[in-house]
Symmetry: C2
C-alpha cells in the first residue's frame, strides 16, 4: 500500500530491522525442510481439478469482484484451451515462532503465498546489512562483534534462488535447451512500482548469472506492447520481436491492479499464451485463505501427500484455522469468534495482511456483515512470538 | 563544489556517462605502465628536501592563505619532530587522448593528484553499469550487444586496489604483522560529505576483504574525538580506545575544509602522530601545479628517475606547461598567454578544476591581477580529445 500523500518521485526505503531477530536454528531448519513438501501439497491440490473447482467456485461467490473474476478468467482459459502445460511457482511460506508451549518455541505457519512474493531480492541485502553492522562492531559498545558472524548470521540466498527458478522456467520453455535461447522474461509490474528495487535485484541476477534478459510491463501495457502469434500462441514483445518464455507476475494480485477491462483481457491473453506463467491462474488462486485453511485439515492433507511422516511434518507447522461457514468446524469458528476473540485473527481471502481483523475487533466486524458473507473469512489462532 | 541551493538532505547522483567513452587500448595500457614511474618520480621529488623546500617556500608566498598554511604546518611538524617515517600515497593521474597528431591519438596527462583522489569507489560501479547496459541490449536498437563485453568493457578494479593500499598502510603501521591487529583507519571527511558513497565503497571493501574497520571524522571533530598518547604519539579514538593506523584524508585539500584554527591545529596533531598519513603534508603539497610543471622539464625529471627509458616514457605523456614567472620559460608563457590564448588553459596551484581559466578568458584574467601574482599560475597547452 502507498502511504498517505505518497509522491511517485519520493524515496521510501523498505522496512528493515537494524538488528537481526533471533530465530531458533532448529525451527529455521525445519522451515527449510518442509518447503518442498508444501510445494508438493499445493501443486497436488491444484491438480485435483474436482476438489479445487468445488472450493473455488464457492469462494468466487463470496468475492465476485476479485476472486470471482480470477476464477472466471481461469474457466475461460480452460474453455479456449491452453497450450502450455507447465506452470512455475515462486512461493513464500511465512512463519513465526510460537512460544505458547515454552522451550525455544515452535515453527508455525502464518500463510502460504503463491503469487508475486516480495522481498526475496532485498532479503539477501538485509542479511548483508546485519553482517556488516556486526562486523563494524556497531552492535557492541566496546566495538566487538555481537554475533558469531559465520554461524549465527546467515545471508539468505533468496535472490539467487528466485532468479535461478525463473531461469529454470526459461530453460523448460525452450525444451530444456541450454545456451543462448534469446527468449526473455516478462516482469508484470504495477504502475509507479514501489517495490522495483526488490524486483531489479532478481532482474540483475537473471542477466548476470543466467544471461537472460527481462522486460517490465504493467498489465495495462501488455495489450499495447506485446502480441501473441495466432498459430503457435507464442508471446512476443512488439518493439524487439523478442519471444517471452516466462510471464512473472509482480502485479495482478489485487483488484487495483486491474483498473480496466483491458487488464482482465490481457490476463486471459497471457494465460492462454505459450509462455510459462509464474504463477498460472490456478496456482495464484490456490493461495486463497480458504484453501490454506482446508490444507491444514489432516485428512485433506493426506489426500495430497502419501508419506505419513511428510504429513506429520506439515501438520506440526499449523495453528488451528477455522472456516466461518455452515460446516461443523465452521460452527466452532463462529462461536470462538465471539467468545474468545482475543486469541484469534480473522482473515479475508485476498492477499495482503493489511485487511486482517484482530482480537477484540472481530465481533463488531462480523456483526456489521451479513451472515452469508462470513463464509468468505477464516478464523486463525494467533501466534505468540517470543519477546527479545 | 555544492550546486546552488543544495540541501544537505538532497540526493544528487555522481555525474556518469551512460555510454562508455572509447579510449585507445594502447594508450590505456601506457597509462597503466607509467603509473609506477610517476609514483617514483613524485616520491623522489618530495625526498629531495632542498629542491622541494625551495619551490614550496616560493609557492607559499603566492598563496599564503592555503598553500602557505599547509607549508607552515609542514615546517612546524618538522620542527617538533615526526615519529612516523612512512607515508602512504593514493594517487590519481588524469589523462585525455590528444588527437592533434592524428592516428588513434596520444595519451597526455592533465594533472597528477596526490590528495583525496575521488571516484575510485564509484568508477568500479560505472564500469559495471556500462557492462550491464551493454548486456541488456539497451545500446542497440535490435537488442543486441554493442560492445564485446569481455574485451572492450573493462571494469576498473580501483575500489579493491585503493582498499588494498589502505590495508597495506595498516599492515606496515603494525610492523608488518598479519592477522587481527585491531587498529582502525580514520577517514577524514568533509562536514555534510557529498561524496560519501564513493568513500563508503572503500570502507566496505576494507572491512570485507581485509577485516579492517574504519571511522569517519571531520577535521573539526578530530580534536574532540581523538587523542594522541604523549609518549608513543599513537593516535586513538576516544570513545572506543581504538588505535588508528592510517589517517586517510578525503578532506583538507581546500581552505574551506579549515573553517577554524582548531582544524589547522588538528592537521598538525595528526601529522606528528604515529599514524601513517595518506598523504603526509609534503606528499599533498607535491600535487601543486607548479611542481607538476617543473616535473615536465626533462632535466628535472632526470634528477629523480635514473633510467633513460623511464624518463622517455614519462616525457611522452606531457603537453607543454609553462611557468608564469621571471624565468626564461616564464617569459615564453607570458607571451603565449596573450598572443595564443586559444590553445591554452591557465591553472592556479590549488586542487580542483573549477578554478581554471580557459582560452579567450586568459588575457583579461591576467590583466586583472598584479604581475607579481602571475607566478602563482601555470599555462598549459590544451589537449584536443577525439570526437565520437
Amino acid at each position: 500500500m502507498y502511504p498517505p500523500d505518497f509522491k511517485s518521485h519520493s524515496v521510501i526505503h523498505a522496512p528493515v530491522t537494524l538488528f537481526p531477530t533471533p530465530f531458533p536454528k532448529k525451527e529455521f531448519n525445519k522451515a527449510i525442510e518442509v518447503q518442498k513438501l508444501f510445494n508438493v501439497l499445493y501443486v497436488n491440490a491444484v491438480k485435483d481439478k474436482n476438489w479445487f473447482s468445488t472450493i473455488l467456485s464457492d469462494l468466487a461467490n463470496f468475492d465476485p469482484e476479485f476472486t470471482g473474476k480470477l476464477w472466471k478468467t481461469y474457466l475461460k482459459a480452460l474453455d479456449i484451451g491452453t497450450v502450455q502445460k507447465l506452470s512455475l511457482g515462486l512461493f513464500r511460506s511465512d512463519y513465526m515462532v510460537d512460544s505458547k508451549n515454552g522451550g525455544t518455541g515452535d515453527l508455525k505457519q502464518i500463510e502460504f503465498n503463491t503469487v508475486s512474493v516480495s522481498f526475496g531480492g532485498l532479503s539477501s541485502k538485509v542479511g548483508e546489512l546485519h553482517k556488516y553492522l556486526n562486523a563494524t562492531g556497531d552492535y557492541q559498545n566496546n566495538g566487538g562483534q555481537y554475533y558469531q558472524a559465520d554461524e549465527e548470521l546467515s545471508i539468505s540466498e533468496s535472490c539467487q534462488k528466485l532468479a535461478e527458478a525463473l531461469s529454470q522456467g526459461d530453460y523448460y520453455y525452450n525444451g530444456q535447451i541450454k545456451g543462448d535461447t534469446n527468449t526473455v522474461i516478462l516482469f508484470v509490474v504495477q504502475p509507479n512500482e514501489r517495490n522495483c528495487f526488490d524486483q531489479r535485484l532478481l532482474e540483475y541476477a537473471l542477466l548476470k548469472t543466467h544471461g537472460i534478459k527481462s522486460i517490465r510491463l504493467t498489465l495495462e501495457e501488455i495489450g499495447l506492447k506485446t502480441f501473441t502469434d495466432k498459430e503457435t500462441k507464442k508471446l512476443y514483445i512488439k518493439e524487439t520481436n523478442a519471444e517471452i518464455s516466462v510471464v512473472y507476475y509482480r502485479s495482478g494480485y489485487s483488484p487495483n491492479d486491474y483498473p480496466t477491462q483491458a487488464c482482465w483481457d490481457s490476463r486471459l491473453d497471457l494465460e492462454i499464451s505459450k509462455a510459462i506463467k509464474c504463477p498460472s491462474l490456478s496456482t495464484q488462486l490456490s493461495g486463497a485463505k480458504k484453501i490454506q485453511q482446508l490444507l491444514t485439515v489432516e485428512k485433506i492433507v493426506r489426500n495430497f501427500l502419501s508419506d505419513e511422516q511428510d504429513v506429520s511434518k506439515i501438520m506440526d507447522t499449523f495453528v488451528k484455522i477455522y472456516p466461518m461457514d455452515d460446516s461443523k468446524e465452521g460452527s466452532i469458528g463462529k462461536k470462538l469468534a465471539f467468545e474468545d476473540p482475543l486469541n484469534y485473527v480473522l482473515k479475508p481471502q485476498r492477499e495482503g495482511g493489511g485487511n486482517n481483523i484482530y482480537r477484540e475487533s472481530i465481533p463488531g466486524f462480523l456483526e456489521n456483515l451479513s451472515k452469508e458473507e462470513w463464509g468468505g473469512y477464516i478464523l486463525m489462532e494467533l501466534i505468540s512470538p517470543p519477546k527479545h
